[in-house]
Every structure is written in C-alpha cells, then in structure tokens.
C-alpha cells in the first residue's frame, strides 16, 4: 500500500521534471505577455505577429549585441493573477532578460508593483492607464505606446476646434471609460472654459458585456448634446457603431469623437459599414508616416501576414527595437544597465521619433486622429485627412502625472 503511494508520487515527480525542462543557450531572451486566448485574443495575436517580425529582422541582421534573440510568449488571459503568473514564468523559468507586453489597464496597474520586486525591465505596449507611468510608476516599468492622457488630450484639442459647447460621453463602465471622460472634461475645460459637460448620471456608461446599445443611444440622443466623446473599443465599438448607425445617431446634429475608433481590427470587421467622415483616434496609424522605417514595417508586415499592422502589432514591434537600442547604448543586456539605458532613450520607431521620459518612463509619442474615408484598394476605411498631434503637445508634464520617480531617486 505504501509502495503504491510512493510509486504514484515518483511518477508525478517525473512528469513534473519533464515539464520543467529548462533551456540553456546564450541567447538574449525576451518574455512577451499578451492576451492569447479568450475574447480578446485578437490583440495578443497582433502583438505576437509584430514581435515575431521584429525578432526575425533583428536576428537576420546579427542579433542584439551579436547575440541571437529568442522570444517567449505567455498568455495573460486578460486577468491580473494569470498575467503575473506568466511574468513569473518568464523571469524565474524562462530566465528572460526583458519583459514586453500587457494589454489590459487593470492587469498593468496591479502587476506593476511585482515587476519592481523581480527587478526585470518591462516595456508596456498597449495598456493605456495613466497610472502605470503615474501614481504607481517604478524604475523598471516603461511604456512605448500612447497612454490614455495623451490620446484624450489630443481629443480635447480636436473637440475645441469643432466649437461644440455641450459634451457628453459613451464609454465602457470600467476604469478606462470613466478615466477617459474625466481627463476629457479636465483638458477641454482648460482649453475652453465655456464648455459644459453633462453630469455623471446623464452620460452613458454601458457595462462591458453589453451587446445591445439601443438604450444608451436613445439616452444620448435625447440629451441633445453638441458633441459626444466615445471611448468604447473592440466588439463594444463595432456593435455601437452599427446600432447607432441604424438609429440615425450619425445624422443627428452633434459632433462625434471616437478615441479608439481607428483600430484596424474594428475597421476591418466593419468594412464599408463604418460611416464616413467620423473623427477617430488611434495610437498608431500605418499611413500616417512616410518615413522609410514605417514603409518598411508596413510592407514587411503586410507581406508576412497579409494585413496592415494594427497599433498593437506596432507596439510590440517597436518595443523589441527599443530594447535593441537600449542594449546597444548600454553595451550590455544586464537588467539594470538596460533600465538606465532606456531612461531618456530617444529612438525612431515606425510612428516617429519617441523618447522615454526620465521622470515617468512614458514615451513621448504622437497621437493620431483622422476622419474615416472610403478608399479603393483597402479592405477597410482609412483616415483622411489625418491629424497628427505632436507628442510634446499632448503629453502632460511629469509633475502632473503623480509619478515620483525623479524625487525618489
């Protein structure tokens, strides 16, 4: 009887050991953590494609500081505890030199304190919450993508130009939607003190799981605003646009700004059902920049995957190159040396030249807005005209972010 227990345990131990089997080679290892399964796995897939393209290119060109690059991909499932487990696997099991990733704001905000304990640099490429380069910022955490504050600042600049006086919002009922509206109110009020905003109980915050937006559309239309700021994204945005369109929302007499409307996964799904002439924003737009680097990125991405790169593909692609630049600058892949090299690093990526600010580790990067327009030859709407808001014009001062990196150091 005891022997049986023992034999079961030994078998179990063997299974474990075979699973654990560690790699050992002198490569530079990067650990990517994205949503690879479940409802939002499309975002993880885009990021993985961007990252793999960058690794392929870098390896073909001789690697990072002469070493080949190896990418590890783990699934965050969009949940904070699972994401942290994935990051732990990267750090303790895969023994990565660098972390890249994170889609969800909630995940980013709660995982960041542990990043500091693991003393491994992280570049966030998607999560937009201002807090990770603000109130909970730390020495190891950087962000290459446009954050919520930057994007909304651009929206407020645009809103001011439209001349609309009374604003309301439709946003997802979680931190992202509420924060977007708070920042929009704050920035637009500063830019134009005569603007008014509907009080919180009259604006629309549909819960995330909503698929039927009709009641919210009715609510907004009957509140008769001059402008509507919409921070819905993904499936919510697709459903909203189609239902709103069929309810005459876009023919009504008010301005509409979609802060994340120019995401390629949304435009692709909607195809020619996306109305023309709507103001939409995005973190990266593949036609916004004529630089050789952007052309190269868009062309090789299209060649490899048969689609135009989304902002998330761009974020992951650029983060790998930012890491390469930091390693070159530091002449090492030592984690602390990389952190120091990333601070203040200026680098050209497809969207333009960015700089990781020393004070909060947020990249100063441009915000892109444009009007949806039909274009023959593209599988979805494109932006025309395109409006680019310069990074320094939309990035709040470090003192406003609540990040105390500079003070603590």
């Amino acid at each position: 009887m005891k022997k049986r227990v023992l034999s079961i345990l030994i078998t179990l131990a063997f299974v474990l050991v075979s699973v654990i089997g560690a790699h050992a080679a002198s490569t530079v290892k990067i650990g990517f953590t994205y949503i690879m399964s479940g409802p939002f796995s499309a975002y993880g897939q885009f990021a993985k494609q961007g990252a793999e393209l960058a690794i392929e290119e870098i390896n073909a060109a001789g690697g990072i500081n002469g070493q080949q690059v190896e990418g590890f991909f783990e699934d965050s499932t969009g949940k904070a505890d699972v994401a942290l487990r994935a990051i732990r696997k990267h750090v303790y099991q895969n023994k990565v030199d660098m972390l890249i990733g994170l889609d969800s704001s909630g995940v980013a905000k709660t995982v960041v304190p542990s990043i500091e304990k693991m003393q491994t640099p992280l570049i966030i490429t998607h999560a937009a919450t201002p807090d990770v380069t603000g109130s909970v910022c730390n020495k190891y955490t950087f962000r290459i993508s446009l954050n919520l504050a930057q994007n909304v600042k651009a929206a407020a600049l645009l809103a001011k130009e439209t001349g609309a006086k009374k604003w309301t919002t439709v946003g997802p009922d979680y931190s992202f939607g509420h924060q977007s509206w708070e920042y929009f109110e704050k920035y637009l009020q500063e830019l134009n003190p005569t603007t008014t905003f509907l009080p919180k109980d009259q604006v629309a915050f549909p819960p995330f799981k909503t698929t039927d937006f009709s009641a919210y559309i009715t609510k907004v239309m009957s509140s008769k605003p001059d402008g509507v700021f919409i921070s819905l994204w993904g499936g919510n945005l697709i459903d909203f646009v189609r239902q709103a369109n069929s309810m005459g929302f876009f023919n009504a007499d008010f301005e509409v700004l979609f802060s994340l409307g120019a995401a390629t996964e949304v435009l692709t799904a909607l195809g020619d059902k996306m109305p023309e002439g709507l103001w939409v924003g995005t973190r990266y737009w593949f036609l916004a920049n004529d630089s050789a680097m952007n052309k190269h990125f868009v062309d090789s991405y299209f060649k490899k995957y048969g689609a135009y790169p989304s902002y998330n593909a761009h974020g992951a692609y650029s983060a790998v190159y930012a890491y390469k630049a930091a390693a070159k600058k530091a002449k090492s892949t030592d984690k602390m040396a990389i952190v120091n090299a990333l601070e203040g690093l200026k680098i050209e990526i497809p969207t333009g030249t960015i700089e990781f600010r020393k004070g909060d580790h947020q990249a100063v990067t441009d915000a892109h807005w444009g009007k949806t327009a039909a274009a023959p030859g593209y599988p979805h709407r494109i932006l025309k005209p395109i409006k680019i808001f310069k990074g320094q014009d939309v990035t709040p001062a470090v003192s406003e972010t609540g990040c105390s990196l500079g003070a603590a150091m």
């Binding site: 690879m36 505890d81 696997k89 303790y92 909630g106």
Partner: protein
C-alpha cells in the same frame, strides 16, 4: 457511513513532509506555482465543506475570497503590518459576509442555491468593480508592501518566493487541519447525514437551517483566509476574484479531485494547475484541450480523479 476511527494519517503526513521539503528541490517558478496550488486548494477544500459534506453547490465563493483579499490590501494600504491581524481580519470580514449571504441562501436547494449564491457573489463583484474610491474600481488595488512576522525577535519578511511559500504552507496547513477537525467533529457528521436526508436531521433535533448557515459561514471564513494569502502572494486585490468565473474554479478543482474525499479538492487544485502548465507549454488553444481532458474526467471518474484512484487502489469504501 464513515465511522471507522482508523483514519489513515500516513498519507497526509507524507504529503506534509513532501510539501515542506519541496522548495529545496524544485525550481523557483514551481515553488510559486505550488504556493498557488495550496491557496486555491484551501479555497477548494473550504468549498467542499459545502459541496461534498453538506451537498450545497455555492457559486459565490469568489465573493468571500475577494473580501479577504480586499481586506488585506486595504489594511496594508492603511499601514497595518501585523500579519496575524491581517489574516484574522480577512477571515472575519468574510465570515460576517458569509453569515449574511448564508442566512438568505440556505433556505434554497440545489440549482436554486447555486443561482442565489451566484447572484450575491456578483453583487459583491459589482460593488468592488464600481466603488472606485475604496476598491480602486475595475483596476483593483495594487499592494506595495507586505506584512512581516516577528519570530522570536527575528524579523521575517515575505518578499522572496521561498519565504512566501512557507508562509502559505504554514497557514494552509493549519487551516486545513482545522477543517479536518471540523469535518470529523459531531458537527461534521451531522452535516454529512443532512446531505443524505434532511428530514432525519430535523427529527433528531438538529435545526437544518442553523447548521447550514454555520457550514456556509465556516466555509466562507476559510475562503476569505485563502483570499488574504492570494492578495499577499500576488500583491493585488482585483474584482476578478469575485466574479462567478473565479467562483467556478474551486468547483472544478473539487470535482476533478473528488468531493467525497477530504483532501480530494486539494489534489484537484494540483491536477488543475499542472494540467494547465503542461497544455500551455504546447498550445495556445489550452481551453480546447482543457475541455477535452475534463470531459473524460467527468465521465469516467465519478468520484474525481483522486477519489476514484484511491478507491480503486485501496478498495476503501468512501462515504
């Protein structure tokens, strides 16, 4: 009926020693996984006090887990650093909530009980998700500092994975031992016989409702304790912990392991995590393969993997 007093303690003792020594042999990442297995195992064993022993399927355990986690996170945020105080407070808050939820829920049975506990759980989720000022809203609360323990004048911290593991190990060991005592006390035996036959218990003078509330509250309190540990282990408390999908985890683990055996759910937690790690190694479509593996487990292991294997090998009649 299990009335034999020759409880075989050899297995549990061996398991304890193995768990005690494991960190010396296995890699750090697996030490951390083992911590998670123990925490989720405690949650599953607590749930099984209801599912396996009382016959109540609760779909709202996440609420108590989350309450424990939020209590710990808020106390740490407020500067409390006494480990015992935090563990007890988390348990107490979960206990009180479970008393209230239990008071309203235990009058229902089977699927109705499952649905009303799901409903209450999701109400807690909605509060955590929306009460921005206190709970941090949907983002949850990040935790920056951990409590420390003054052990005979020696200040013990839990910032390293190994120390954290031993904290989890000790707390889970004590909690599971307490649960074992409860299950094998007269109270536990009445619960079991109540599961078989509700009328009979009321005939012999037991108040079914009070007994069920007590079981629900005890289960909730230990679930809250697991939540505190999870918060310390992950440095966070998020509304996700309270969602019904999180509440379904200990149910899956209990059924995989076996609801008829005291430690079945703990093994279920282990099987679940290890399975997940193995599948994830090979494919991104882990949901598909998890489903494909779960189906035969349900069909061919009527007492759970651990329970069925135990019965097969040791020919012990369980229950």
């Amino acid at each position: 009926m299990m009335t034999q007093n020759n409880h075989n303690l050899l297995g549990p003792a061996l398991l304890t020693i193995l768990l005690l020594l494991a960190p010396l042999v296995i890699p750090v990442y697996w030490v951390m996984l083992l911590s998670e297995i123990l925490i989720m195992g405690l949650m599953a064993v607590s749930l099984n006090l209801l599912l396996g022993y009382t016959g109540l399927l609760s779909f709202g355990q996440g609420a108590f887990f989350g309450l424990g986690a939020y209590t710990a996170a808020l106390m740490l945020q407020a500067g409390y650093e006494n480990l015992f105080l935090i563990l007890l407070a988390g348990m107490l808050v979960a206990l009180l909530a479970a008393l209230v939820v239990g008071f309203f829920s235990v009058r229902l049975d089977e699927i109705f009980f499952a649905m009303i506990t799901l409903g209450f759980g999701m109400m807690f989720f909605s509060i955590a998700h929306n009460w921005l000022d206190v709970t941090g809203g949907s983002d949850g609360l990040p935790v920056f500092n951990l409590p420390s323990l003054n052990l005979f004048g020696f200040q013990l911290t839990f910032y390293t994975p190994i120390n954290m593991y031993y904290l989890v190990f000790v707390v889970v060991l004590i909690a599971i031992s307490l649960l074992w005592l409860i299950v094998h006390s007269p109270f536990g035996l009445i619960l079991k016989s109540m599961r078989e036959n509700k009328q009979r218990v009321s005939f012999i003078g037991g108040n079914v409702k009070t007994l069920r509330i007590a079981a629900f509250a005890i289960s909730g309190a230990f679930t809250g304790l697991a939540g505190v540990l999870f918060c310390l282990f992950n440095n966070m408390a998020t509304p996700e912990f309270m969602h019904w999908s999180f509440s379904s985890k200990p149910i899956i683990m209990s059924i995989i392991g076996g609801t008829g055996v005291f430690l079945g759910p703990l093994f279920g937690a282990g099987i679940f995590f290890i399975l997940e790690q193995i599948i994830i190694q090979y494919t991104e479509n882990w949901m598909l393969f998890l489903g494909i593996i779960l189906i035969p487990i349900v069909l061919f292991f009527p007492q759970g993997v651990f329970g069925t294997l135990r019965n097969k090998f040791f020919k012990q009649g369980s229950k």
